[in-house]
């Protein structure tokens, strides 16, 4: 049984994890040295967080553009509130949909409440895939739009942990 990390060490560890594991033989040892803890302490804390569901997944985080998935499209639909859970669950299970979220409408500026992300290699194939999907689920009469990305300004992992004191990341 290892001594649990202090609150400050935990926060520092979360900040380090947000930028990824070092690519060295003993990555948790390397992280432990940076927060003045031991490798087993760090590993135990990371495993505990994982069990508690703090992480969506732990693995290789790839940049889909660099892999050739350049056609990144956001499908937005205006689904009646009473149907949005059912439509969301169905589209969420459809092949090719990588994210499916309900978000609030902001009337009058924004009428859409269901958001799906589709990543593909070619724009025309993504368009055809979306059209087929909407027809298959009898949704093509609902107001919807397909917003392709035209430029990526920034992409990195989320930074959730609050800054530690006034320390800068350098």
């Amino acid at each position: 049984m290892n001594i649990a990390l202090s609150e400050q060490q935990s926060l520092a560890l979360r900040r380090l994890l947000e930028t990824g594991l070092p690519l060295t033989s003993r990555p948790f040892q390397a992280l432990a040295e940076q927060i003045e803890a031991s490798e087993p302490q760090v590993l135990e804390q990371v495993q505990r967080w994982h069990e508690q569901g703090l992480f969506r997944r732990v693995g290789l985080v790839v940049n889909h553009r660099a892999l050739g998935f350049a056609a990144n499209a956001m499908l937005v639909l205006d689904v009646p509130d009473a149907l949005v859970d059912e439509v969301g669950r169905r589209l969420g299970q459809a092949p090719g949909i990588s994210l499916c979220y309900q978000r609030p409408r902001r009337l009058p500026q924004w009428q859409y409440n269901l958001f799906c992300m589709i990543h593909g290699r070619q724009r025309d194939r993504v368009e055809a895939q979306v059209q087929a999907l909407l027809e298959q689920h009898l949704l093509d009469d609902l107001p919807h739009q397909l917003l392709f990305s035209t430029h990526l300004f920034k992409q990195c992992g989320g930074r959730f942990a609050a800054p530690v004191g006034a320390r800068s990341d350098g």
Binding site: L21, V46, L60, A66, S98, C100, Q129, T150, C156
Partner: protein, 152 residues
Amino acid sequence: MTPNSLARRLIDRFQHGLPLCAEPYQAMAQALGCCEAQVLDCLQHLQVAGTLSRVGPVFEHTRAGASTLAALAVPEDRLHQVAARVSQYPEVNHNYAREHRYNLWFVLTGPNRAHLDNILQELEHDTGLMPLDLPMLTAYRIDLGFALETTP
């Protein structure tokens, strides 16, 4: 195994999970029948090439803090300037131009909702543009892994 096929196998096998042990790269190497040095070398190459963003956790934002999807309708001639202003925040992790009147879309993450509200207010004040604030209400699918072979 060529470096490329090792890269493909590493990505396909370990996007969704990797062994949480003291020597994870050694464990990955064993699973794929190669040696640790090859795995580390391959991951370093992928990172330099920009294919690999990082190795590690993707935080569950509903537990890790607050997040929202925001959008701005930016006059075309100011798009790059406003995008640069938005990207300056460490709290912004995705920032895309999209084809729509709302043409700049970004994800904000932070320790709590008040933190995000401050940033949205700052952006509105600095740019004169009113952000759409679209926090997630329900997740029906959150998978972010990519099957290399089967995606169009």
